[in-house]
Amino acid sequence: MAGFLDNFRWPECEWFDWAERRNAVASVVAGALFFTGWWIMIDAAVVYPSQEMMNHSFHTCGVFSTIAFFMINAVSNGQVRGDAYGEGCFGRTGARLWLFVGFMMMFGSFIGSVWILFGAYVVPKKDVAPGLAVFFQNAFIFFSSLVFKFGRTESLWNRNFSRKKTVSPFLHRTSMGVFDNCLVLLELKNEPFKEKKRLKSAVTNNGGKISFVVSKQCSLVVTNSLSNLSSTRLRSIQKLQTPVVGLDYVYNCVERGVLLSVDGYKMEASSASSTPPPPVSSPRKGPLTHKGQRPEVSASL
């Protein structure tokens, strides 16, 4: 008898790709909850317009909930952990403080709405509907912020589409991508937009994938200038010994149709630009190897 539901499985819903659409579904649910909460309050304000039935100051709970919602969702989880590109206004500690204040405001408004319900409506034995409206508004906004913050996954922001619906005619695909198995990070601050796009297409059209963080899987960092890299990225690069090269490495690889050795393209801390010596053409398709130098590359797109 015990455990008779152990082998029960929900019927598989395969027509809907939950993994890829998770963020969109979470956004829809969060939006529905948030705005439903506000419309409940608008409805209560319309149906109970007088001050005795619903004190107008009860709107402040909802206002603070909303401010807290936007504060909580303004920082990504990556910023708080410290592995997002770019430091933002105040760095990691600032992100944590911001999130802390945001959550405190959110919890405070929620508790305040419960207090209003019981203190101003249930205990004095008044008509409880406006109190319920305040409570539900804040409860919905609270759950909406939780869904929006934790229901979305940031790995989808870096993942490529596994299936493309259409292929643009101007994309040039080679049969064997020069950058197959390469995860490339681009740091192109101060580059014109067209140049950034050109470089990005050069990588992705040849089998490469773009990364936004310096990680173990990141095989290469491309930048126009070492000074563009943030100190967090520099540290990660140093720790993981990721090679840092200039833009010309990418274009030369594509021109010659092979993955060139990074020697000669690498950026050192001493020199700001790299000149391409005659490259060693090695038709390797595996991950790039690099010498134990000190590559300092911070790339932010």
Binding site: F35, W39, R152, W157
Partner: protein, 131 residues
């Protein structure tokens, strides 16, 4: 061209939805033109999504924060378009029958807008201007 037929059926759907909206204004009691405020929400609803498609050119990643925020606001606008007639009816500004007509019109119009984006929106050359 994804089809003249699709375009025509979408415009038919739009016309039917607007018809329901106007019926809600004139039936069962005439001269209550409050539901016309919903036109504001209809026009506003595709805007966040269009803005996010223009601003972020990242066709490679599966999702990004701007697109999700746009989806959030679009859902909000849709919910508001359903909430407004209900609040009107609760405040006795329009009749409940009119509210039901307007809500039906809502469903049809948002279905039309969604259909437009599904049918015409998913190619790469969904652009308003040539470079």
């Amino acid at each position: 061209m994804a089809g003249i037929k699709a375009l025509i059926s979408l415009s038919f759907g739009g016309a039917i939805g607007l018809m329901f909206l106007m019926l809600g204004c004139t039936l069962p009691v005439s001269d209550k033109y409050w539901p016309l405020f919903l036109l504001f929400f209809y026009v506003l609803s595709p805007i966040p999504y269009c803005i996010s498609r223009r601003v972020v050119d990242d066709t490679d990643s599966a999702s990004n924060a701007c697109k999700e925020l746009a989806i959030f606001f679009t859902t909000g606008i849709v919910i508001s378009a359903f909430g407004l007639p209900i609040v009107f009816a609760r405040a006795e500004v329009i009749a409940w029958g009119a509210c039901a007509l307007v809500l039906t019109g809502n469903v049809v119009i948002f279905g039309t807008i969604l259909g437009f984006f599904l049918v015409f929106g998913s190619n790469d050359d969904f652009s308003w201007q040539q470079w």
